[in-house]
């Protein structure tokens, strides 16, 4: 039997506003507990919500980037349930009339193929606070502590159609969402701080079936790696279950990264009846066409457009252009290097090669790169004008990463300048030939077809003598002349 996995994602993105969605409290991350929870966030009696204009602007930007319809009249509703991190006893969210309607985006897969994923809708809502467990207390009372700093932080919840068919597709979709929101600057997209979180609806069915299988919802996935692993393991669980004659039940599950398994959240299974109704403290938000068009006019260049431009303007391959445009910071970095060095292809190779390896090794983001775009451009310029070889360039790059200054400073300090002086190279060639009579003899007696291969030995010796700094093209030329003269 061949199984097909069907995945839909609900992605929660924290919007990078200064203040909360319904109050004037700060949204800054990492403050001491409850220092950013004002009377409204704490649901003090008699307090009332007033929505943040910026949250709407951000949501509209997102909708436009997703080629989606914008809700010109959106309505907040109350979703009622009790939980200590939800001070009002209801979450203010949107249901019937969300700010963003149907849309679609294209995702790019590793094998180079593309696929369209449909957006069901996206809505604005408020985040909840956090429950902290006993570890934070000295006394062993075993209670939970509630921090409401995060309560009221604006979120957009992005709901996809169940269009994804593998964990890899789900990850590609999520990466695309991440890319779009960070391009737009509407979220910092920092998954480690919970700025982007994801619930995955996973079901399986036999290939060719029309009807969807019963789905399980995996809650609160907060890294690309976990999402991939959680979906894989959940899909396999469902397949095993069905093949053993069991039935999938619709439920909420939690992914345990340590055990690499999902488990049922039975505590949340108590029949939820959220009793949604329009929030009477808030009025419909009406947006005009002018407002929406103004925002459209101010949208930054988005990943797909940038990718196409990189291909055309810089002559990059589709793969390279896609890799470089996934993150706005990377694309911006690349463009600076390309512009300053005048060598886009070299710039692309270096950004995706040495730089990516360095950042990966040091677990840094490109924003915190130890090598600035300017320095990398300077290095590439020195490769281009033959001051250094590509091989030496790697040495210079490492030195720049260690904070030894720009390329010129490193080259100067370490004396890495490429030797392109004919006299000096001739001298080295002469010395190597003089000290290798056996190899010269072999060369002379060899079949002419094999001679070019045999030159490698001499080149290696000369490079060694020059500490790698001799210009390789010149070595080849002079060496060949001298050896041929001995024939």
């Amino acid at each position: 039997m061949e199984w097909e996995v069907v995945i839909g994602l609900e992605v929660h993105v924290q919007l990078a506003t200064q203040s909360k969605i319904f109050s004037g409290a700060s949204t800054a991350f990492g403050a001491a507990p409850n220092t950013q929870a004002c009377a409204v966030d704490l649901a003090m009696p008699g307090t009332l919500p007033v929505p943040n204009e910026e949250a709407f602007r951000f949501a509209v930007m997102f909708g436009l980037a997703m080629n989606a319809g914008i809700g010109k009249r959106s309505v907040f509703e109350r979703k009622n349930y009790f939980y200590p991190d939800l001070p009002k006893g209801y979450q203010t969210t949107q249901l019937e009339k969300p700010i963003v309607g149907e849309g679609q985006i294209e995702i790019h897969l590793e094998d180079g193929s593309s696929k369209t994923v449909r957006l069901h809708h996206a809505h604005l809502e408020e985040d909840a606070g956090k429950s902290l467990h006993e570890a934070v207390f000295d006394s062993g009372h075993g209670m939970s502590g509630i921090d409401l700093n995060r309560a009221g932080t604006p979120l957009i919840e992005i709901v996809s159609e169940p269009d994804m068919r593998s964990a890899a597709e789900a990850v590609a979709y999520l990466k695309k969402i991440h890319s779009i929101v960070t391009y737009l600057g509407i979220s910092d997209g920092d998954m480690s701080q919970g700025s982007l979180r994801c619930d995955a609806n996973v079901s399986v069915r036999l290939k060719g079936e029309e009807e969807l299988g019963t789905r399980a919802e995996i809650k609160n996935l907060n890294s690309f790696r976990f999402i991939e692993k959680a979906i894989k393991v959940e899909a396999q669980r469902q397949i095993d279950l069905i093949e053993d004659g069991g039935k999938v039940i619709q439920e909420t599950r939690l992914y345990d990264a340590d055990k690499n398994e999902t488990r049922s959240m039975r505590s949340k299974e108590v029949a939820n009846d959220y009793r949604y109704f329009p929030c009477p403290d808030l009025l419909p938000v009406v947006l005009t066409d002018d407002y929406i068009e103004q925002i459209r006019g101010e949208l930054p260049e988005l990943p797909d457009a940038k990718c196409a431009r990189f291909e055309t303007n810089y002559g990059l391959s589709a793969y390279d252009a896609d890799q470089l445009t996934q993150e706005r910071a990377t694309a911006d970095y690349f463009e600076q290097v390309a512009a300053k060095s005048g060598e886009p292809k070299l710039a692309a190779n270096w950004v995706m090669g040495e730089l990516a390896a360095l950042l990966n090794r040091e677990e840094k983001s490109i924003a915190d790169s130890p090598v600035s775009a300017e320095h990398l451009a300077g290095l590439i310029a020195r490769i281009k004008d033959n001051t250094i070889s590509s091989k030496i360039a790697k040495q210079v790059f490492e030195a720049m990463a260690n904070g030894d200054g720009d390329a010129d400073a490193v080259i100067e300090a370490k004396g890495l300048k490429q030797v392109s002086d004919t006299g000096a190279i001739e001298k080295m060639v002469d010395e190597v030939i003089a000290n290798a009579s056996a190899q010269v003899e072999n060369y002379r007696n060899a079949d002419p077809d094999k001679r070019p291969k045999m030159m490698g030995f001499f080149v290696g010796q000369i490079m060694k003598a020059s500490k790698g700094q001799a210009n390789p093209q010149m070595i080849n030329k002079i060496l060949k002349e001298k050896l041929d003269a001995l024939l």
Binding site: A39, L42, A43, M44, P45, G46, T47, L48, P49, V50, P51, R78, N80, F82, P84, P87, K88, G89, Y90, I146, D273, R275, Y276, F277, P280, D281, L282, L283
Partner: protein, 488 residues
């Protein structure tokens, strides 16, 4: 001095006939003498009042006195007051001392008014008799065996007993007008959105509206001019500039078209109440007004629609009272669920719990369309009835309540009978229209209220219409027996 109206106190203070400290002290003494019997106050803030009065006297002396400088008032205990317990009539908030003021409270402070304390009310403003208060029932100054109406029973009784010349109150389904009618006072519920709801503890957000209770329309106008203001902290507050509601008081009402809905004078209306209302209408005719019979065909649906919408909104509004951040928390909760179940089970009274359950029912899966959605559709029909009527008339008049004050305990065991108390007042809340009650005589020795319903934002005209009646009659000047310390 306690007989003085707000307008008279303002003049007296400016003319230095007496000081704010003098009148404040006098009223505090009266509260002490009389209120143990009436129970119209939950909290009396005597020391603070005297200090505020002294400060007001200084300002009066310096000649920079704002509108109500030195005038004693009291706030319904639903308005949050910094540093002063705000209970909303509930055990749930018996220990709640807000660190912030309601906009209404700030407005009165800025106008120089002196607050004597917080008045009693039905728990979370749910009730029409003021018997659901955690602090005990309020007695009607006209007959202490009877209810003063609710939910603003304390605010109405305190004014009727001349403990204070004016009070703030709130009206979700009649809670200003019905107690005003029961106590022979003048109460005004403004157009929805006139008065900020910030710091006014919510019962049903789309219906709640603050307003004044006073002895005269002139005083109500002075108070409303202070109370009403745009407020950026309340999304539903109208962005309407502050208005002088006293400006039109003395205009002639010659040619005024008064709509009289036949539905408001039909079955279920007390005969004597009907007679008093009829007499009041006749008085208006004498003053030059014209009576026009109108129909409000969906009137009978107002109470059913209200008892879906108000409990639905309340069921969510009251979820925040969970024993976690403030207010009542049960002893030794076994677990999280127990904390919620018992804190709420023990902290709320019976009527509040009943309405939360009804609201939860109306919103629950499978019932939303049949109840909540249906009620919101009916609400539109009710509003349309009024819109159509106001094409033909300037104001609408009828009884405020179907009967005069009933005996304490009389309707306690029958919630539906209690709900029908608001049969004539509820529709205006659903429609968001302004409504008023003014005294128009007595039935069996108990006050009867005439309801005046105005068009949207037409409070100035309503106050004019009420004031003209009060210039021609003296029902509003009759004094309740419990206003003298000897009345036992």
């Amino acid at each position: 001095m306690h007989q003085l109206t707000i307008a008279e106190i303002v003049r007296g203070l400016r003319d230095k006939q007496f000081s704010s400290v003098e009148i404040t002290t006098h009223l505090l003494e009266r509260i002490q003498q009389l209120d143990s019997q009436l129970n119209s106050f939950i909290t009396v803030t005597g020391d603070q009042a005297i200090k505020a009065a002294a400060a007001a006297d200084d300002r009066l002396a310096q000649g920079d006195a704002p509108a109500l400088c030195g005038v004693p008032i009291a706030h319904k205990d639903i308005f949050c007051t910094t540093g002063v317990r705000t209970s909303c009539g509930s055990k749930m908030l018996d220990n709640f001392i807000p660190p912030y003021d309601a906009t209404v409270v700030s407005n009165f402070q800025q106008a120089g008014a002196v607050s004597l304390g917080k008045t009693n009310m039905d728990e979370f403003a749910m009730g029409s008799s003021n018997e659901s208060s955690f602090y005990g029932a309020v007695k009607n100054p006209w007959d202490i065996e009877r209810i003063p109406g609710g939910s603003s029973g304390g605010s109405a009784a305190a004014v009727a007993a001349q403990l204070v010349p004016g009070t703030t109150a709130t009206d979700t389904g009649g809670s200003i007008r019905q107690p005003a009618a029961m106590t022979g006072t003048t109460g005004l519920k403004p157009t929805y959105g006139r008065v900020s709801r910030w710091g006014m503890i919510a019962f049903a957000s789309s219906l709640d509206q603050g307003g004044p209770i006073a002895r005269t329309a002139e005083d109500a106008a002075l108070m409303l001019s202070v109370m009403a203001s745009p407020d950026k902290k309340d999304s539903t507050c109208l962005d309407h500039p502050a208005e002088d509601f006293s400006a039109k008081l003395n205009d002639s009402i010659q040619g005024l078209k008064i709509g009289v809905p036949s539905e408001y004078l039909s079955d279920g209306l007390d005969t004597e109440v009907r007679e008093r209302v009829q007499e009041a209408l006749n008085e208006y005719v004498k003053l030059g007004a014209e009576l026009v019979e109108i129909n409000l065909p969906h009137s009978n649906l107002a109470v059913p629609a209200y008892y879906v919408i108000a409990p639905a909104e309340a069921s969510a509004n009251l979820s925040r009272f969970d024993g976690v951040r403030y207010g009542y928390r049960c002893e030794n909760p076994a677990d999280l669920r127990d904390l919620y179940m018992r804190s709420r089970g023990e902290g709320f009274g019976e009527e509040v719990k009943r309405r939360i359950l009804v609201g939860s029912y109306a919103l629950s899966a499978g019932y939303y369309d049949a109840y909540y959605n249906k009620a919101q559709q009916v609400r539109r029909l009710i509003k349309q009835d009024f819109v159509d009527a106001f094409d033909k008339v300037d104001v609408i008049m009828g009884p405020t309540a179907p009967n005069p004050a009933f005996k304490l305990g009389e309707k306690n065991s029958d919630p539906v009978a209690m709900y029908l108390e608001d049969i004539y007042t509820i529709a205006t809340n659903l429609a968001g229209l302004p409504g008023m009650s003014i005294p128009c005589g007595f039935a069996r020795g108990l006050p009867v209220g005439l309801q005046i319903i105005g068009n949207y934002l037409d409070e100035a005209r309503m106050l004019n219409v009420a004031h003209q009646f009060q210039q021609a009659t003296d029902w509003h000047q009759k004094t309740a027996p419990a206003t003298t310390p000897t009345a036992e």
